[in-house]
Subunit: 362 residues, 2 copies
């Protein structure tokens, strides 16, 4: 099986296995807590409902209102600042979902906007990431030169270290800021930064949703957006360094296979007609061209071949093509006089090998 | 400025402009509706609160309970099936957020799981996407051959058409199924499929959350997961075809620049010492080597240069290096006899140009 197909199938099997393992671990980690929380929440809900004697119908209305009011509680989501924040979550595919379009026109425009914006964002972040890696390698080289190292060129390990350090600093620094501004624990802030910069964007924790920050804290809004864009560029740098080569592997293998196939064709020698192999046997070739031939087994006649065939083709794919007709090569080899033949009596048989053995070379 | 830097800066400017335009449009589309909805929801909330005379404190408790109970209402999110669904949203970076880890261990494992799973998923989907494109080109070629087309090779436009058709069919087909199973309008289902397959994953609409589907409808669960994985492979095929070449542009330009620089160095001719240019002027070169020289301005003496310099270097970077010392080349040119010179009286001046004009060629 082709290498690319083996690779693809292996990746599918690996990923599926990885999902199964993940499912089992998440089940073990969260299932029990889920049940406990469900019980507690149901109890509290029951207490409140009993206290006020709220009917089922009214409680369902209350639930719907509370759920749909959630984005409104966080502030004005669709004014210019909030809309810019939303556009960023679409273009970067983070997609928190803290605010989502409720009109048909909004949903339609979201789809069109994403169709152009996502490739644009992908290319931009990868472009920045590549420049970051390039700058890092230049800096590493000058640092190594000034330290008089033997090898001044930046190795891949150096770049991986730099980009890992940058990513860690970005997450650590961002987490500290969000922890302060949002009132989250440091661990939760790290979790938020990670989920954001990997573009998973659950939306369980979203910045700029407290104290009407979108309208009232422009410098914090700026910081959050810059954090997202800068952080994504660093993530893109690490992807550019570590993952991109694997992403293009199949395509490069295909190109190499095609190039090899072209080379092989270009180098092929194509012979039509009888071929004398190295051990002296004769291989009949194809009838390439119409040809008239007169041969004679008379002692003193020599065969005459008159052919109307083209000898060399102009096909650029064949470096060397020989076409020789007629397909038989008897006229090339010495013919023994008939009177020296001792043909057996009987029905006419195909002519015996009357050619003396000789070693032919191609 | 280097081409790669210009490209990167242009992309940043383009993307930022695109975000600004998006923000303005979303503001225009959604802002008014947001205000109207907010007013309506607040009115309904006020009615219900007044009816039951619910205190602020109790209402806040009720809100919290309702919000946190939302995933529980949808079914068991962390049993194996739900956990597999969650793992899929992490690995693919869709990240609906319909269920999110509540334990520290769950959050920590999510981060570690994503760190390995996301690159694995990226490579896998791109691998499948490349194979899909390859298969498409093979099928197109055989179709064109059977239709006796002049050009049988699959052009890029053909592939783009095929992958666009496949994407549209996937979204249209998936939307029909989700519309039926989830009770959404067809447009909402198309919107859901689009948001899912672009990995934005808002979470405003999530499949498998009605009627305890995760536990009770295994075939529908299978369909939803296969839809996500197959659809993402088709999206990856279109990215592989349309976007990947732009993502690798900077890296390829860097490689080309480096290759050109190496070529230029290899082809450089390095001359030390005086150089006679094409217009006959003499350029003083560097003192390459220590050398003794005897020259004489006497009429009949010819200068003798004895130098201890190496003529050709073994530096593989220079194809051709000439070192000739002494740096002066007076000895190479004919010297006019002193008595024919008419030197002005006075302080010793640097010797005038005593070499008759001649055209030297290098």
């Amino acid at each position: 099986m082709k290498k690319q197909n083996v690779r693809t199938l292996s990746l599918i099997v690996c990923t599926f296995t990885y999902l199964l393992i993940g499912a089992a671990v998440f089940d073990a980690l969260e299932s029990k807590t889920e049940n406990q929380r469900k019980v507690v929440l149901q109890e509290i809900q029951a207490i409140v409902r009993r206290k006020y004697n709220i009917s089922d119908e009214d409680f369902r209305i209350m639930e719907t209102v509370v759920l749909k009011s959630e984005p409104h509680r966080a502030g004005q989501q669709w004014k210019f600042t909030g809309a810019f924040y939303y556009a960023t979550t679409v273009l970067t595919t983070i997609g928190y979902g803290h605010s989502t379009p409720s009109t048909i026109a909004g949903k339609l425009f979201t789809m069109c906007y994403a169709m152009i914006g996502i490739p644009l964002g992908l290319v931009m972040f990868q472009s920045i990431g590549e420049r970051v890696n390039r700058l890092s390698s230049v800096i590493i080289r000058s640092v190594k030169s000034s330290l008089h190292c033997r090898q001044t060129a930046a190795s891949e390990l150096d770049l991986i270290c730099v980009v890992t350090t940058l990513s860690s600093l970005t997450i650590a620094g961002g987490a500290a800021a969000f922890s302060r501004y949002e009132g989250w624990s440091y661990f939760d802030s790290v979790y938020y930064c990670f989920i954001t910069l990997t573009t998973i964007g659950f939306g369980d924790m979203v910045a700029l949703q407290k104290d009407n920050a979108l309208s009232k804290k422009p410098e914090y809004v700026m910081f959050a957006l810059i954090f997202i864009l800068f952080g994504l560029a660093i993530v893109a740098a690490s992807l550019n360094l570590l993952v991109l080569r694997f992403v293009t592997m199949n395509t490069e293998d295909e190109r190499r296979d095609e190039a090899q196939a072209m080379q092989a064709l270009a180098g092929a020698v194509r012979l039509e007609g009888d071929v004398i192999t190295a051990n002296g046997s004769i291989l009949s070739g194809q009838m390439g061209h119409h040809c008239t031939e007169t041969t004679s087994l008379d002692a003193d006649d020599t065969s005459v071949c008159s052919c109307h065939c083209g000898c060399f083709t102009s096909n650029s794919r064949h470096r060397f093509t020989v076409r020789r007709s007629p397909t038989q090569i008897r006229h090339l080899l010495p013919v023994l006089p008939m009177h020296e033949l001792h043909l057996p009596q009987g029905p006419i048989l195909p002519p015996p090998a009357i050619y003396p053995n000789h070693r032919a070379s191609i």
